[in-house]
Amino acid sequence: MRDISFMAATLEALSEEMAKNPRIFVMGEGIGQRGGNFKTTHGLYDIYGPERLCDTPICERGFVGMAAGAAMTGTRPVIDFMFSDFVLDAVGEIINQIAKMQYMSSGRLKMPVLLRGCIGIGHSAATHHSGNYYPMYGHFPGLRVVVPSSAADAKGLMKTALNCDDPVIFLEHKEILSIKGPVPDGEHFVEFGKARIVREGTQVTVVALAHMVHKVHQAATKLAEEGISVELIDPRTVSPLDSDTILQSVHKTGRLLIVDEAFAPYGFGAEVAARVADQGFDDLDAPIRRLNGAFAPTPYSPPLEAAIVPNVELITQAIRDLLDE
């Protein structure tokens, strides 16, 4: 074990898998010699060269569309969006082609594409550089949607993604990229659809993803000093979603809060809540609650930005309120 950053962990995963599999290549803007806007491919160009680290023009629809054709013909493209917002122009290629290709070809074609990019609110990036998008991708059949919160998970999930024959959307919250954490030495894989219990507790279950895992953890630490016991669950993948771990936790605690930076309507929290209401109704001692980012595009100015994201105080309050129900 050693402590490395989230970003270094994904870089390690990519580098290891590229060394093993010559069919993996990366496409994106600034991912060649420059090593990626977020250092996602730092140093790889020198090892693997310009064909496997392919710098693209600013034509997202173009290179995402190409990724589909490439994946259908024997290679494994990794598409690096930089900011996930940029790739919305290519969503037609992702939803209509990449996600449906295996089905349309009745399983004769595989679609081993990894589509990765940064998400999340912070640092006044404003509304074209702050989107989340996992609820949207999670809605569609055919995609695997990964949203890690820790360095170890980022590495293990990236390794799994690079060996998965389904298309994987891998979303990296930009506010946690430099957070370091212990990562196992050697081969490390994390299975899709297996949640991680970040913190064990008995009184309330909180489900969170990405940056919110860190914020809920802080809130839970604070509440522990007052004797309030929070169980924090990070599903790690939105699709597939590990309902079992969440249901087991709610069976124990009787209370469920979902803390989610993304928009509430039709969202991740709604899905978790629906599954628990359906399969864990008898375990619930209180209504299921959600705490979400505000239903608005992301503003720039720091006080406005701060006002739309769940913070430690709001999370703490939401947990207290739920315990009072």
Binding site: E29, G30, P57, A296, P297, P299, Y300, L304
Partner: protein, 323 residues
Amino acid sequence: MNTLPRETVLALYRQMQVIRQCEEQLARSHQRGLIHGACHTYVGEEAIATGVCAHLGHKDVVFSTHRGHGHALAKGVPPRELIAELFGRSTGCSLGRGGSMHLFSPAVGMMGTSGIVGPCILQAAGAGYSFKLLKTDQVAVAFFGDGAANNAAFHEGLNMASIWKLPVLFVCENNQFATEVPSSYASGNPAIAIRGVSYGLPGIEVDGNDVLAVYDVAGEAIRRARSGGGATLIECKTYRTRAHAEGMGDFTYRTREDVEEWKKKDPIAQFRANSEAQNTASAEDFAAVDAEVQAEVAAAMKFAEESPWPEGVTATKHVYCEV
């Protein structure tokens, strides 16, 4: 030979200086931590927005991109509203909600800058369609970079503007790089102007550091657009002499010498020297403008720094129209 009246010469000069001095203040402010998000400056490219927007009235519209401070200023957004916006204050042109890449002032025809590369091209075409339908003589202008010229929006936008003869100017600011990627790498054919021809539009290449050249070419294209003659693509050859964005490194993909070489072609200094040599305006005239601009920008900075922050509770306003 420049035959423009002295007032026009000084107005063009003034506009370029306003942009330059605002950008320099913004760059400094970025270092001081007063600017919160990204900040892409227009230093070295001032002649383009200036030469084009000099022909536009408030009813004409501009759609811009991430490097849009110069477009906003040239279209009539006052320096204090620009600077306050980047400082995140409620007095900014987007009430602090947008920052550098989301500058809006529809009252003066500034229809927005964008954090996404490309949409301005299509939106300008859409505005052109409105003007055609409404039978007005307004024109729409899209400003964008060489990088955007390789985006689908460029190809689709030019073609639609051509087939429907829309009153639009597509102004490509070819500063030779998209972030750090040279356009010679990213373009199968690095000449952008002739792409207009592929879609049946006039495509004109011009020295983007020569404000008079831009002024002439844009003037003709705008006259053509206003009189029903359709769209034009103008490729302005230029160079940004600061990093892609403030705080980014600059010499891994280009050399200090390249940048120094281009600084010699500074659009403002060149224009001033030529005008003085040709006696279209005097050194005293220019010095007076410099002093005026300096005072205006200093006042704008003060205004921005003293302006209030927006209230958190307003963050979710304007998601939908209000009645």
